[in-house]
């Protein structure tokens, strides 16, 4: 099988409706370990970000709004990520998102291509989301609904956007 020299990175964020330890958020927190474990054994999974000392990312609040949680990871292909996000038990949690997360008018999910094996930083992820919000979908920052293919030229992965 031809191995693509690029992997797909994903950042998605959500603004909690209530404090993370409140009863309203309990089902989300209770399900986290199982869903993270499901991600890890799904075809195409490469890496997921975790807060230091935790099995999840919930202690990391890299946005100025302290209620914003992040989900950040890398996968081998968009199709495999799609299958995990929308065609696995993960779907059940997606369907319930509005119980736990406020509606966000701006884009809250960004995808971008990285060299295979590269582990992106939080700063890189933030820049990609900013790029998507500023300019709409592009090869540097896109979404499931408006995707872009991996770069053809192995020597030139998509550069990080300028500030």
């Amino acid at each position: 099988m031809h191995r693509c020299p690029f992997h797909l990175a994903l950042l998605n964020i959500g603004r909690l409706r209530a404090p993370i330890d409140s009863p309203q958020i309990k089902d989300f927190m209770d399900g986290l370990d199982a869903i993270n474990a499901l991600a890890e054994r799904s075809p195409g999974f490469v890496w997921r970000y975790t807060s230091p000392g935790l099995n999840n990312a919930t202690a990391t609040r890299p946005f100025s709004d302290d209620d914003i949680l992040i989900n950040f990871g890398t996968w081998e292909s968009r199709e495999q990520l799609w299958d995990f996000v929308y065609r696995s038990q993960h779907l059940e949690y997606l369907v319930r998102r509005r119980e736990w997360f406020q509606h966000m008018a701006e884009p809250f999910l960004v995808l971008w291509w990285i060299p295979a094996g590269h582990t992106p930083t939080l700063e890189e992820a933030r820049q990609r989301l900013d790029k998507l919000r500023r300019d709409g979908p592009s090869p540097e920052a896109f979404t499931f609904r408006q995707p872009f293919e991996a770069p053809q030229n192995e020597l030139e992965p998509t550069p990080a956007p300028d500030r």
Partner: protein
């Protein structure tokens, strides 16, 4: 008017051809000519002719596969297998474009974050359908719910005591708005169970597998 669509649908007027098409579709897997011919009760060469016509117009797809798993010289010719084509076929007269309207409604719901309004509307719709079932019989059976699902195009089948559904009636909208559409569907099915008085015995679960419906209906007493 789309000539190709009309030709394709027109082919299904022939009763033998329609039976063959429906047999292939109901199996949910590739089917060979001999099996289809025997199931429907037509001669093999006639079945092959009909199946090939259906493939020509895009209602069925063809795959060649060695059923024995052997390969190389002497392994035998690969079998010609048929399954339902994934292309959608529709004729609507007068012309209607409900998919486009649904996509725009979906976009609006997505932008407004109105997921739960959609689920509530779907649940109410399911409740009404379930109550209608309950009105026409003493107590509603799961089979009756299955019949209703079949009428709606879900293609339900039994899988280890659960009801699985082979077809997603909302497929193209579900590809664009997966969580909205699946949430809507689950709410609708839950409403049906509730309205028909079956919700203390059966439960809807989100359990997507392959390309079919994301939901299953299972007996509550079977759960650990």
């Amino acid at each position: 008017m789309d000539g190709a669509q009309i030709e394709a649908m027109g082919l299904l007027q022939d009763p033998a051809r329609r039976s063959l098409y429906e047999y292939v579709v109901t199996q949910g897997r590739e089917v060979g000519r001999n099996e289809a011919a025997q199931a429907v009760g037509v001669q093999r060469t006639l079945a092959a002719f009909h199946l090939d016509r259906l493939a020509e117009v895009g209602l069925l797809e063809v795959e060649f596969r060695r059923l024995t798993g052997r390969s190389g010289p002497g392994a035998g010719r690969p079998a010609k297998l048929y399954r339902r084509a994934s292309t959608e076929h529709a004729i609507s007269l007068p012309p209607r474009d409900y998919v486009r309207a649904a996509q725009l409604f979906g976009e609006a719901i997505e932008r407004a974050g109105a997921d739960q309004s959609l689920y509530a509307a779907a649940r109410d719709d399911g409740l009404a359908a379930g109550r209608e079932l309950a009105q026409s019989s003493e107590s509603v059976s799961l089979e009756q719910v299955g019949d209703m699902l079949r009428e709606r195009g879900y293609e339900p089948y039994d899988a280890d005591g659960h009801v699985r559904m082979r077809n997603c009636p909302f497929h193209s909208v579900a590809r664009q708005f997966p969580s909205l559409t699946c949430g809507m569907n689950v709410a609708l099915l839950e409403g049906v169970l509730q309205g028909s008085g079956l919700s203390d015995q059966y439960r809807v679960r989100t359990d997507p597998q392959g390309d079919g419906c994301c939901a299953t209906i299972g007996s509550i007493s079977n759960e650990s």
